[in-house]
């Protein structure tokens, strides 16, 4: 064998040395060495400025570029991002009466154009979002902020107008990142939406910069040359493509390998499982606060009422009775729903606030068991009897017949069919409706089919909240939040449930600082809604995303942008 350059044993030793002492074979090679990263969001981003859009797709697409001072990691813990540390009362970052929080930027931070990041940029971001006539979508993050004062070029103090038990609203999380003052300075107030160039390609501090953006189609990013960690990101280019549907997105990662990452795949578990079996990719799931629920309408949606339809002027003739609502809840087998619709990506829940653990109530476990006999008995007691023997109960000549609507989605239609069958066994007849998701969630005050107008008796959708603090979320069920003609049908109290005692407790929570007391209040608020059966929680939904087999570093985060740690993503060489 003339071609042999070294004896076998020597070769082995050389190889070993190369492996052990030489360059690492995979990962952390250097910035841009892993080529192109292809991400698929089946809802396409339309703008890259999170302050001008409430859409998750836009906020997450912007999160590659724009970064906050601190954000939540995959466990829901708050971690410093552009700030050196997270201010607490212990480290002196928050003052004694909790009206001031002081943030200090990391040393040497630069924008992607090479200029330094300063405290002025932070102050400007607050001014940008609170400017008159700007229509800032994240205004509630800055609610109660009296001033943001610049202490020195790296330090700012956020001053609240009242003690703030939870001061991590402004500049925390993907929805409230720092904007560059130099770029947005001419875009305050009413001029904000007109600054197309800035809104489509913001200068940021994140691992990527925008190279090309076609709204509602595709974003092309390049690695940020001034990113603070020299060897990151591993990818030199990232492409975020939008459009299509969840099934096509899952297929593109799991079966054809055209993309590396696909987001938010609400598909039946057997469909996803079959796709994942081909081995090109894997599914990742994580639980957050998203709960699939049935909302009960407390107002009468009868079309004969005209403009007074679904308003508080007319309480719902059937569902105002708690016993009926309770019977509807008891007839549902949540374990079966979870198995059919979500598999491992779902958990049975009886709470509106399923997480973080400290806020999750433990006193509603009874709903986990289906009780058809008990539900039927309860309806009987409420005066609903099947006097004509047609299988549907009546009372005073009115049939117990409900309209049940939701958005068009295969899993939701399956849920509708199964729940209809259960309700039928207890003598409740259901008419099903499904509405295209873009109309149903479209918030168009002119459309009769939005979930806010709620021209039906019950409806099903999922809801969640930002970050880890449920106060703002629980405040959604106060009386004033009900959508009605007076507020153009905007508002979050979809079922128009109203309990003055609840409103008082929400106000109490807003003034409570100690975390244990806040948690106790949150659990009590949750119990009030759930035990009055104003909302019937069904499934605690995990987020499911698909990741290509050779993509490493993904830590699915349900508390922040899914792309929060994209700087760490890399090829594993498998």
């Amino acid at each position: 064998m003339p071609a042999r350059a070294c004896p076998q044993s020597l070769c082995a030793v050389l190889l070993f040395l190369a492996l052990a002492g030489g360059v690492p074979l995979t990962a952390q090679a250097g910035r841009g060495e892993d080529g192109i990263l292809r991400i698929l969001y089946w809802q396409a981003p339309s703008i890259l400025n999170p302050y001008l859009s409430g859409g998750t797709k836009d906020i997450e697409a912007a999160s590659l570029v724009l970064e906050p001072l601190a954000r939540f990691d995959e466990t829901g813990r708050i971690v410093p991002w552009l700030a050196e540390t997270v201010p607490t009362q212990e480290n002196g970052g928050i003052n004694a009466d909790r009206t001031r929080i002081t943030w200090r930027l990391r040393d040497g931070l630069k924008w992607s154009d090479g200029s330094p990041v300063t405290a002025e940029d932070i102050r400007f971001t607050w001014r940008y979002c609170t400017a008159e006539g700007g229509g800032c979508a994240q205004a509630e993050k800055f609610a109660g902020v009296a001033d943001v004062s610049v202490v020195d070029p790296r330090t700012v103090t956020v001053i609240f107008d009242a003690p703030r038990p939870y001061p991590y609203g402004p500049f925390v999380g993907a929805a409230a990142p720092i904007l560059q003052k130099a770029q947005f300075t001419g875009c305050l107030g009413p001029r904000a939406p007109g600054c197309t160039e800035a809104n489509f390609a913001p200068v940021g501090t994140g691992p990527f910069t925008v190279a090309e953006f076609r709204p509602n189609d595709v974003v092309r990013y390049l690695a940020n040359p001034h990113y603070r960690e020299p060897a990151k990101p591993a990818f030199g280019e990232a492409v975020l493509k939008g459009g299509g549907g969840a099934a096509a997105a899952a297929r593109a990662v799991l079966e054809t390998g055209e993309f590396d990452y696909a987001w938010n795949l609400q598909l039946a578990p057997d469909v996803l499982g079959a796709m994942a079996a081909s081995g090109r990719g894997r599914l990742v799931s994580a639980f957050g606060t998203m709960v699939e629920r049935i909302v009960i309408n407390f107002t009468d949606p009868d079309p004969a009422l005209g403009d007074a339809r679904s308003t508080r002027a007319h309480p719902h003739p059937v569902l105002s009775d708690r016993r009926v609502r309770r019977a509807l809840s008891m007839a549902i087998d949540r374990a079966i729903l979870t198995e059919i619709g979500y598999g491992r990506a779902g958990r049975v829940t009886c709470n509106l606030v399923p997480a973080p653990e400290i806020y999750a109530s433990d006193s509603n476990r009874a709903c986990r068991e289906q009780d058809l006999a008990g539900a039927a008995a309860l309806l009987e007691k409420a005066g609903w009897t099947d006097s004509d023997g047609d299988g549907t109960r009546e009372r005073n000549g009115r049939e117990l017949r409900l309209t049940f609507q939701t958005s068009t989605n295969a899993v939701r239609q399956d849920f509708q069919a199964v729940i209809k069958q259960w309700w039928r066994t207890i003598g409740v007849e259901t008419d099903l409706r499904n509405i295209d998701a873009s109309v149903f969630f479209g918030s168009d005050p002119g459309s009769p089919d939005t979930f806010q107008k709620f021209f039906a008796d019950v409806q099903m959708f999922a809801g969640t909240f930002d970050g880890t603090d449920p106060q703002a979320y629980l405040a959604n069920w106060t009386c004033d939040e009900a959508p009605q003609p007076g507020n153009q049908w905007q508002g979050s109290n979809i079922g128009r449930w109203c309990d003055p005692e609840y409103d008082a407790l929400v106000a109490e929570m807003a003034g409570t600082a100690r975390i244990e007391e806040r948690a106790a209040l949150a659990r009590r608020l949750n119990d009030m809604i759930v035990q009055d059966h104003a909302v019937l929680p069904l499934v605690d939904r995990g987020r499911v995303s698909a990741v290509a087999a050779d993509l490493g570093g993904v830590r699915l985060n349900t508390w922040d942008s899914e792309l929060w740690n994209i700087a760490d993503w890399h090829r594993t060489g498998e």
């Binding site: 099934a247 598909l267 079309p303 069919a417 069958q421 099903l432 409706r433 499904n434 021209f455």
Partner: protein, 301 residues
Amino acid sequence: MTEPAAPGRNRALLRRFTRHRGAVAGAAVFLAIVAAVWLGPFLWRVDPAAIDILARNRGPAPAHPLGTDQLGRDMLARLLAGGRISVAVGLAAMALSLGLGGLVGLLAGWVRWLDGGLMRLTDLFLSLPLLPLLLVMVMLFRESLAAAFGPQTGIFLLIVFAIGITSWMPTARLVRAAVLEIRERDFILAAHAAGTAHVAMVTRHILPNVMSPVLVSATLGIANAIVTESALSFLGLGFPPDFPTWGRLLSDATVYLQTHPGRVIWPGAAISLTVLAINYTGDGLRDALDTRHRMTGPSRI
């Protein structure tokens, strides 16, 4: 000068029709499908909406000849129930569009001063984009109809009406052309001379002679209505989601295309087969009825 006596004419028509093999096969298949969806649910007495959580995604077996879907509902029962609705929608919408188209065509052809206006109206309807119009109609009228007739009858009427009102135009044009041609014939002149009244003229002389284009467009209309209903259901805008129609079954099954192809194939095949069978029948009818075609076609030899 006058037409041959009816019985003899019908027999000749039947003979010519049966000579077209595709048409005979098509008619047989269509009748078989109608019989199956009409009588099937009486023979196969499984509730198409009954959910059996424990028997999800089963393959074909004696208990479920076509297997079960993702909620354990029997596919055969759903296919039969779905066919009932799809075929009923097809027939009813066809009848409506035929009646409307026939009337407009007849009036335009017979009453000279109505011709211009009615034909422009036809052009107007032809230029309307069909699907957006249907969507708007469904959105506007669904609730009031559901309140008046119940959700299922209401949406049935709405869909039949929507399809009928948007598909009468070709029939109207065909009928008008036929009427214009016939009114110049000698036997009409003779009937005029004999003092026949207008109404009798239309019912006795015109209508029997325009049956050929009407029948052909009727068959095509059924196929068209079934496909439109399927498209609406596929878009999630047709019947309520728990109401199986062929289009709905197809739309529900698309995500299972790879794992359970049968669920797509059966309703898909049912739609295709029905439409194909009807088209063949229409083809045969046209050949049998069309005199000019008869003169030049191969059946002449």
